[in-house]
Amino acid sequence: MKNSFEYAALAPIVVLLGAGVFSILIEAFVPRTSRRICQLFLVLGSLALSFGYVLINATKTLVGDPATNGGQTHGLRQFAVNGATVIDGAGLFLQGTLILIAFVAALLLAENQVDPQGDAFAARSSTLPGSEDERQFTAQGWTQTEIWPLYLFCVGGMVLFPVANDFLTMFVALEVFSLPLYLMAGMARRRRLLSQEAALKYFVLGAFSSAFFLFGSALIYAVTATMNFGQVSVALENAGQDTLVITGIGMIAIGLLFKVGAVPFHQWIPDVYQGSPTALTAFMGAATKVAAFAAMLRVFYVAFGGMRWDWRPMFWVVAILTMLIGSILAVTQTDIKRMLAFSSIAHAGFLLLGVIATSASGLSSSLLYLFAYGFTTIGSFAVVSLVRDAAGEATHLSQWAGLGKKSPVVATSFALFLLALAGIPLTSGFTGKFAIFTAAIGGGATPLVIVAVIASAIAAFFYARVIVLMFFTEPPVDGPNVVIPSWFTKIAIGVSVAVTLLIGVFPQPLIDLIVSSGIFAS
């Protein structure tokens, strides 16, 4: 086996991690006044560059429409680092999606107009909440630029996640993108106690779940003597009956189900989404979901694809629980961020249908869904970050009454995102839902689709309720108002709206891209 390190193939990741290191240097050497601007250039630039590399790799791996080239769906693929990573069409698509989402999210994180005190992060997270020096730092208008190296490492880890081709790499990537998230979750400028609590919970439970993932892969390794997905699937064809294997699959599933926020591993989601700075929540809600599902799809399609008859029932149960509990619990939420958190749980349930299908259409529909969902989520949280009163963001539903009067544009775009989440036609949400339901029925999961339909019906209620609140009720006298953000947020929301509508009305180009990017390589 030759020792090689294919820089070209890994360029997107290398660029981001490298940029991360570099941005630490910026923290160290650039004077405070000019740090923010340098960091922004570095972050956005490196994201753009790495996206460019993704495109370059894509040109090498795309196979075009399987219909036109003899039904071949295996893209050219390139294993890197002795097969520790595999660069294939689906992986590249996911990388691209992640980088785009990260780019838009970066704009949100950079926003420093909506809050009179500065950006979304504490002036100095080391200071005690409510303490004297906190007040001073805030008064001096310090802003924290340490989040940017964290952010770059996080994105780097995420971009590595979907192309990781063995359990170890996957674990490392998992930690690389989780640890910065834990930290950033705790750095909110307002409501710092909640923020820190969110960080703690996220960390403890996250570590807990990754331990499961790790132990699971250890067991699989113990049976198959390899961690490479391809080899694992081959090995399992004869060793598949071992109980250790089943246990291993189960534990790996737990680790990943936690990340996607599937019931009963979902409870961190509402707390963390609510506690973290909203800009970060937007990033988490979108990117983590994509990355985690990317990994889950790869693991269960490639490594455990042969054992689908064993793990499918387990996923059925989880999917049903996730869809129903997610939708039902959202009904009585009074905090908009928590409500969106529960809705993201329900959506995780819908996405599980794509995993269960374990078919080409299952994969492509999941990719479509993830892409659509990612941007809708970013957009909706971006809007949440704009509705503020003196104490910061006004996230209680009652405060959203009559928003349509105060700011029709913002309210309308939020309504659009809600409709997309509810899966109303002509929005991206419907396209994704339609694709994934089709795949599920094609894969013989009709009962799940019925459950999904019922769940969507329940979900429709609380989405519609918010619209009623915004448009059909009179605004409270001392209600919050919608602040006019800087171009960062404007662009972020604009892009999300555009994507939501475009994929709703003209999904064909995206679908072509996904289909031509082919299935996972093993």
């Binding site: 674990f171 960390f203 403890v204 570590a207 331990a211």
Partner: protein
Amino acid sequence: MNPNNYLVLAAILFTIGALGVLVRRNAIIVFMSVEMMLNAANLAFVAAARSTGTLDGQVAAFFVMVVAAAEVVVGLAIIVTIFRTRRSASIDEASLLKY
């Protein structure tokens, strides 16, 4: 001797760790329990490497140690912040976010 026993041992350690997470209130101890689970995984890796005669497991163990170290840094940072704000390391104190 039969390397499977080591797997069993690893499983026992893992379970102890998991239970530790559940029963202990002190954030530090909870955190140590998590580390214990990771190390249980390490043990499993090494044992498996031995029994299957491959190196990947041992490599993995090293990786995991590094990752665990990083986790310690992050974890302690968070816990210390919480401790400074709340003057308590009890993980149950931090329960404002609910319902």
